[in-house]
């Protein structure tokens, strides 16, 4: 009753671990068998290894957290050689999250991932464009269009574009990505936000800004998923502050075929497992035969 077929693949349930919060799944697999998940998105990968940001990387806010990890990752080659084989032993869908600082970097990374054993590529366009002085690729539709177009050209696997909530017009952004061939969209990434250390009279983060995630953002993320689902007809992965099965069902009813769970894993290491069980119970109690019946019912 939780099965969902998308892009020629079957997700055993709609619950997917979100990028950057689940590493390459080894760690959570020590706490519970992560094969029960519908899917797992890898930590954001870039063509070459990155060390990520210096200084404080995490700060708590009301019902949320700010992070400034800065795409620390071992690089795509290392991932394919050392992490992917383990992930492929898991009985779940593996989604590679791809980041980059320039179109060329994205394209080269995409080529490698497309040849690898990952099931799906999630293109994270909320990365600062190093060539354009750090301007985010995910804000203006016409800039995003270029990235998606070029990456699509080299990717034969299902390509999902992950949208930033800071996009000027999230609906237009989604439509643009689909026009350029995205097989799906996932939203939202973290919100650009900040915190100030009032005693030191300076921003908490070296980069000034950091990304807000967690339950705090849920009502805005849900609205965005709803609006996007009315405008595109590709599958949507709903993300943002999902902490329990009720939140997950809200996103599904708003139009998401799958949901991704991020920060909630930190709040409750069993979050994904509890959400899967919660959805199943909900469907049973409400007499709904299949999750597919409630996707986008609103």
């Amino acid at each position: 009753m939780l099965n969902i077929s998308l892009w020629g693949k079957t997700f055993k349930n709609p619950v997917v671990a979100a990028s950057g919060t689940f590493g390459f799944s080894r760690e959570y697999n020590e706490i519970y068998d992560v094969s029960i998940l519908g899917g797992i998105v890898t930590k954001g990968l870039t063509l070459n290894k990155r060390e990520g940001n210096e200084g404080i990387r995490c700060f708590e806010t009301s019902s949320g957290m700010l992070n400034s990890v800065g795409l620390q990752n071992p690089g795509i080659d290392y991932f394919i050689e050392n992490e992917l084989p383990f992930m492929k032993t898991l009985n779940t869908i593996i989604i590679a999250n791809l980041g980059g600082g320039s179109i060329e970097e994205y394209v080269q990374g995409a080529e490698k991932l497309d040849k690898s054993d990952v099931d799906i590529i999630e293109l994270n366009i909320s990365c600062p464009n190093v060539k354009e002085g750090g301007v985010n690729f995910g804000i203006k539709s016409n800039i995003a269009r270029e990235v998606v177009k070029e990456v699509r050209r080299v990717v034969k696997k299902p390509l999902v574009v992950k949208l930033s909530p800071d996009a000027e017009d999230i609906v237009d952004m989604a439509v643009t990505c689909v026009e350029e061939g995205a097989d799906g969209v996932s939203l939202v990434n973290t919100f650009k936000a900040m915190a100030i250390d009032i005693y030191k009279k300076r921003p908490v983060f070296k980069n000034v800004f950091a990304g807000l995630s967690g339950p705090a953002i849920k009502p805005i993320a849900l609205r965005m998923v709803y609006e996007v689902s009315k405008a595109v007809n590709v599958p949507i992965m709903g993300i943002g502050g999902i902490k329990d099965y009720k939140d997950a069902i809200e996103f599904i009813m708003a139009g998401a075929s799958l949901v991704q769970v991020g920060t909630a894993n930190f709040i409750n290491p069993f979050a994904c497992r509890d959400i899967i069980n919660g959805i199943e119970n909900f469907l049973k109690e409400e007499g709904i035969n299949s999750i597919n019946e409630i996707i986008g019912v609103i």
Binding site: R26, I31, R57, C58, S63, V69, Q72, N265
Partner: protein, 241 residues
């Protein structure tokens, strides 16, 4: 590593703002390992890391200082309440690797993990603990020599523990405490070329190595305090200015 709800056996204020929390549970723990604790539902968002302070057949215990929201909530725990506990986490140290004459240098609440080190290697350890004013957490502490300092002069040497600590005599030094203290210890150990281990701290989210928010800069790049640490070799850690 497991995630469980443990029963509170004791939660007692042992000094001003310093509590000892004893939870019912059987664990295999190495000194230097820690647990993520959570005794609340929503706020604060994240769980909090605490080092193993002591353990017995049927319990683990922690020594913590009340600092903010999380520890304030812990401080309200009463017997029979439950706490969600993830662990043991982190590398910790194999005691078999700890040989020769060892010095444990702790400052403030940084003494908490060192207590469990001392317990495991009591035969050949000297202890240097510095406090601001009140002395706590040394009940049942066994060792060859115990040096205490307080900034106020209330007990022991008046000043910083690093004033009286000299690594020269030791085969190994393990330290935990404020960054400034640990830097100082690193400096003196460098001079005497004494092997040193540091117990690092960092704000944590997952606690298990998945999210990369707790990194510490090392010679080999950014490492996760929660997974690659919290015990790091002295020469490995790069302290920022």
């Amino acid at each position: 590593m497991q995630y469980s709800s443990l029963k509170v056996l004791e939660n007692r204020e042992v000094a001003k703002n310093i509590f000892k929390l004893k939870l019912e549970g059987k664990y295999n723990v190495k000194p230097g390992q820690f647990f993520m604790l959570r005794s609340w539902e929503d706020e604060p968002t994240l769980s909090r890391p605490f080092s193993i302070y002591d353990k017995g057949e049927n319990y683990i215990s922690f020594l913590y200082e009340v600092k903010g929201k999380g520890t304030e909530k812990l401080a309200k725990l009463k017997c029979q309440d439950t706490v969600k506990v993830l662990g043991p986490l982190g590398n910790g140290m194999d005691i078999s690797r700890i040989k020769g004459k060892v010095a444990l240098v702790g400052g403030g609440i940084g003494i908490a993990p060192l207590f469990y080190f001392a317990k495991k290697i009591e035969a050949h350890v000297d202890i240097y603990f510095g406090f601001r004013d009140e002395v706590y957490g040394i009940e049942n502490l066994k060792c060859k020599n115990l040096y205490i300092s307080t900034e106020s002069g209330k007990v022991g040497y008046k000043g910083y523990i690093t004033d009286i600590f000299n690594p020269f005599d030791y085969n190994l030094v393990i330290t935990c405490g404020p960054l400034a203290m640990m830097k100082k210890v690193k400096d003196v150990c460098k001079k005497t070329a004494t092997p040193l281990y540091l117990l690092m701290e960092s704000k944590m989210a997952c606690g298990i190595g998945a999210c990369l928010v707790c990194t510490c800069k090392t010679k080999d790049g950014m490492k996760r305090v929660c997974k690659d640490g919290p015990v790091f070799k002295g020469e490995e850690v790069v302290f920022d200015a």
